[in-house]
Symmetry: C2
Subunit: 206 residues, 2 copies
DNA sequence: GCATTTAGTGAACGCATCGTTCACTATTGA
DNA sequence: TCAATAGTGAACGATGCGTTCACTAAATGC
């Protein structure tokens, strides 16, 4: 548990410093321009320390994204206010995309074709699945209250909200603003999943 | 207008050969692994001829995509069969994504951050806009027939169908199958835009 | 505390690819 | 026929990759 400014770091201490450096580089220069030497220099580490841990740039950045992802994804409890909850979660996702983490995702997409299958799969379950789970929770809660149609739980529908955000982020250079999120909700998501029943009277579920 | 196998090509003749070579490389090795030398060799051209025309790899590939795009995007006339028309156009888009052209798009996404603004803009209007226009046409036709809700013309809704396909393509390594397209239609698109007034289809009212 | 083991440093190396340059050659058309 | 134009192919310096190695700091064992 030493973390003094002097001395030589090792283990997780050093590893986290490298991740932070990688994410900072990612933010500054974008995925395509992240240089191993730059990451090493920024982390005040030797290049050999990087290659000892990860075989190449792609893996390093994926590891950094993974590290960041696990500390970001929240546990979320639906409040009963359907639209309000969705705004909240969607803003959270958009905010996440506006970080180095988002930049890592962009790079991952760009290299999907030349990336090992398992890595692709792993990042999917690491990022897509947790988001889907949150929306499933919100919709289940809404269904119990009668504010959401049961069809909302179809996988393709549950994936819609995060999918819209991801698509927006990927095809622009920036993540969705609050205004865009509201448009997605009012013109796509709510018309599709909401029953139109007011949540004022909670319904009994079985 | 010479196109004999012997001799040295120039102008458009050579340029098209380079585009074809670039697209072939794209298909074989994926965006990230396209090498200028490989494209030049494949086109039986000098590397200098490439750099004389385009400043770097990104521009060359974008030019190749543009070249391909203009010859692919069709004129489309709605038949009156809403779902049938949508299936048709969506399949067309999915098929297009499964070509080198799709691979070029993936690369473009990956480098959005480090690509000049105007290029991004240009590719958007070159690819996104024509697709949106086709769906707008279909929806307008449907509205006139009473099978589509007027709200379908909201920009974000019109962009939904191509957006779903693009998102699917980008986050998997492959483009949407017919089955996936049908799911998108039946669980997202049709419920959102159709009035249910379709003569052949049974419906539930709003 | 001292010696040994483990882990990180920093510089150098060979390699691949980039983007440029240049002397040479084929094609065009005046 | 000859000058102008456009393409070729090889070489070049620069950059970043991924590896290696001699050296050194930190942790561990005795």
């Amino acid at each position: 548990m030493t973390e003094s400014t002097a001395g030589r770091r090792r283990g997780d201490d050093l590893e986290h410093a490298i991740f932070d450096a990688a994410l900072a580089e990612l933010a500054e220069v974008g995925y395509a321009n992240v240089r191993m030497e730059a990451v090493a220099a920024r982390a005040k580490a030797g290049k050999a320390s990087l290659y000892k841990r990860w075989p190449d740039r792609a893996r390093l950045i994926q590891a950094a994204a993974r590290y960041k992802a696990t500390e970001v994804e929240p546990t979320f409890e639906p409040s009963g206010d359907l639209r309000g909850d969705m705004v909240k979660v969607m803003r959270h996702i958009a905010a996440q995309q506006a970080t180095p983490f988002g930049e890592a995702i962009r790079g991952w997409i760009g290299e999907l074709r030349s990336t090992p299958e398992e890595l692709t799969e792993e990042l999917r379950t690491r990022i897509e699945t947790p988001r889907i789970r949150i929306f499933a929770k919100i919709y289940e809660d809404g269904i119990a209250r009668g504010t959401v149609k049961p069809e909302a739980l179809h996988p393709r529908v549950v994936n819609l909200a995060p999918g819209l955000l991801t698509h927006y982020f990927l095809t622009r250079a920036e993540s969705a603003t609050d205004e865009v999120i509201e448009e997605m909700l009012d013109h796509i998501l709510m018309p599709l999943i909401a029953t139109g029943e007011d949540p004022a009277e909670p319904l009994e579920e079985t």
